[in-house]
Amino acid sequence: MMLLLFAGPLLSLAGSPSVHEGVTVYAERLYTSTGEVVENAAIRVEDGKIAAITGGTEAPDGDDVLRAVAVTAGMIDASVRIHTGNFSVEDAHEIQPHRRVAEALDPFDYRWKRMLRSGVTTGLVCPEDRNVIGGFGVVLKMGGEPSIAARTVKADAVVRGAIGGEPSRGNHPARGRPSDFYSRRPTTRMGVEWEWRKAFYDASAAARIPERAFPGSDVLQAVLAGRVPLSIQAWTTQDIRTAVFLKEEMQREGLGEIDLIIDAAAEAWKEPQLLTRSGVKIILPPFDADGRTGPDGAFIAWNVAKMLQDLGVPIALSSHGASDPTQRLARQAGYAMRGGLTFDEALAAVTLQPARMLGVEDRVGTVEVGKDADLVLWSGTPFEITSRITGVLLDGAVVIDPRQ
């Protein structure tokens, strides 16, 4: 009896990614994210990669066959907010593009597993938005060997910063002698914006005058050169405008062409022409029932994804690593469809679009031969409220087993 009690954790260990010799996933409908739907598809998985896809076939027999009504690529959450609390970001300086959040993550955190169960196999994790420029974000697999290095898909994937109330929250003007660094940092949105501009101008100057180099100036130069995307959190119209103006100013002044991704852009629908004009990419925050979301009470409309899609703005959806089952990524796709997105567009917004945005489309984001075998098995049409995620494969390993 007691033996079984301890078998519990052991079984869950057995389910953790040990790459299987090979497995075949048989789907009545395979949505590849390339715009193609394959009926009665057998997906052969070997060595963690997709080895072959055969359409219009009978379900093969065998112990290594997993069946599902529908199969999609593992979803990609473009804004996973699973941190080690305040210690994931350095408060001591407002500008630190050279810090890496990857050094501060906890691979043992139970929330990764929760992401996997909700069908998310890859995600972008950025530093918490407690300072102006917080450092490099990292694209990670949500499971696998418990080490951040082993789970990394792309290190230094983006440089992360924030515009809005958050970078200055908790700071205060110095009265008398400053007691700590919180009394010296920007206390207003205007101050935050100044820090941004100053950082880029300084970095640009440092490129010409080596003595003016500062920690992270090389990183900002890479951002100006468009070699590393810049992810800025900006919830409200005001903050989105500031982000776009920053990009445009750098362009105008000849400092560089920033590859800008605006994260949590809830109010992106208010001034769409700004976005199309400047060529930014948008990550939408989780939808909210009454529309009010984020720390500044930004308003998100149900049709924001549809509107941006129609304008040709690249969009990705995100769950922010939500604990609430109604806020997980598959639901976000459903909400976006409710706002007008087609199924294909919604699927792309949680697979191929974020993969391209983050520069990892060579490995993840579609179901194609040669790509990572990250698959989600569904009991019905994906994103339908009546459909359930029955299984998940991560790098070919069955991490959520549909047979159990």
């Binding site: 305040n86 210690f87 408060d91 810090r99 890496r100 043992f108």
Partner: protein, 368 residues
């Protein structure tokens, strides 16, 4: 229980005048006990330990006691004194300087008030040596010292205290993040000045303070990258990462055990022992009672740790981690005479401390 047979032959010399040349030095004596725990799992029945000049000169089953040396008969057990690998006793909270995140050259030996009653309390529970460590807030808190409970320093520069624990990131000064801490520490070790130079060269072990498993992982990677030697302190679940710790050649100092604490802590000891990782116990008195040290070992045995491994972790193993195994931690000849006389087997919580000697001087118990 403790009887002292004195052979005062010198005093009986003709004329009643002591022949000074023949008088045994006053701190020479021998103790015969029902069981002598020599260390390394060796227990000798009816064994004896001979102490001369504060050192053990002979021990075991066949010890020849020179004429005139008093023999103390003890019906219970005799062992080496226990070593607490991380402690704050007798420092009155002056073991952390809040004005600096990094104070590498600070020596904890100077935080110790040698006359403080904390030390006597330690001795009364069979603890004869402690590693004086800084408070948890510093990023680099200074250099730990191995100190006897008499106040005598065995080693003034034992380890360089280095933190990768979130507790050190809570102050409103740089660093407040893991990435910042790793970067700053890396810079210091690479610049290699003073204590950092010694540590980077492997001459001074590091004491890496950690907590949850991801901090252990981070610290192990840090130590491997910078080729540091030393021990991890403060990770109750270090056992789950025993293989990685073993691969980095680090030791582990397990945090103290309080009644009601998570049982995964004691389980860690079993996992570390199985993986061959050297480990010992922290005490962290005075916030903990000195009796916690043996309580922790008992909890580990309950979780499945072999008694001999538990005893090593309290004595010789601990001495090795602190870099003082040439002086303390066993009853081998040449070692300091830090002795504990017990009413029964020392690992049984039900055995009490009857008397304690440090450097051959009795500091607790006895008949007088």
């Amino acid at each position: 229980m403790l009887t002292r047979a004195l052979f005062l032959s010198a005093l009986l010399a003709p004329g009643g005048v002591p022949d000074l040349a023949a008088v045994t030095p006053p701190d020479s004596f021998a103790i015969r006990a029902a069981r002598v725990h020599l260390g390394g799992g060796v227990v000798v029945e009816n064994g004896m330990v001979l102490v001369e000049d504060g050192r053990i000169t002979a021990s075991g089953a066949n010890v020849t006691v020179p004429d005139g040396v008093p023999v103390i008969e003890h019906e219970g057990d005799l062992s080496a004194g226990m070593i607490a690998l991380h402690d704050h006793s007798a420092t009155r909270g002056e073991n952390y300087d809040s004005t600096r995140a990094i104070l590498a050259e600070a020596q904890l030996v100077f935080a110790l008030d040698v006359g403080h009653s904390d030390l006597a309390r330690l001795a009364s529970e069979g603890v004869t040596s402690i590693v004086v460590a800084p408070g948890p807030q510093a990023l680099v808190g200074g250099i730990t010292a191995v100190v006897k409970t008499t106040g005598r320093a065995v080693k003034r520069r034992a380890q360089l205290d280095v933190s990768l624990s979130s507790i050190s990131l809570r102050a409103a000064r740089f660093p407040t993040s893991y990435a910042g801490a790793v970067a700053e520490l890396t810079r210091r070790f690479e610049e290699a000045e003073g204590a950092f130079a010694d540590a980077a060269a492997g001459k001074l072990p590091v004491l890496l303070r950690v907590g949850p498993r991801h901090e252990v992982q981070r610290a192990v990677e840090f130590a491997k990258r910078l080729k540091l030697v030393g021990a991890l302190y403060g990770a109750p679940r270090a056992g789950e990462l025993a293989d990685a710790i073993k691969a980095a050649n680090l030791a582990v100092i397990l945090p103290p055990f309080d009644p009601g604490d998570d049982s995964r802590g004691p389980k860690s000891a079993v996992q570390l022992a199985a993986a061959g990782v050297p480990f010992g116990f922290a005490l962290d008195a005075p916030a903990r009672h000195p009796a916690s040290l043996r309580l922790g070992a008992a909890a580990c045995m309950r979780a499945g740790l072999e008694p001999s491994a538990a005893w090593d972790a309290l004595t010789s193993g601990a001495a090795a981690i602190a870099g003082v195994d040439g002086y303390i931690g066993s009853l081998a000849p040449g070692m300091d005479a830090d002795l504990v006389l017990w009413s029964g087997p020392p690992l049984d919580l039900g055995s009490s401390v009857v008397a304690v000697y440090v450097d051959g001087k009795r500091v607790f118990g006895g008949d007088e």
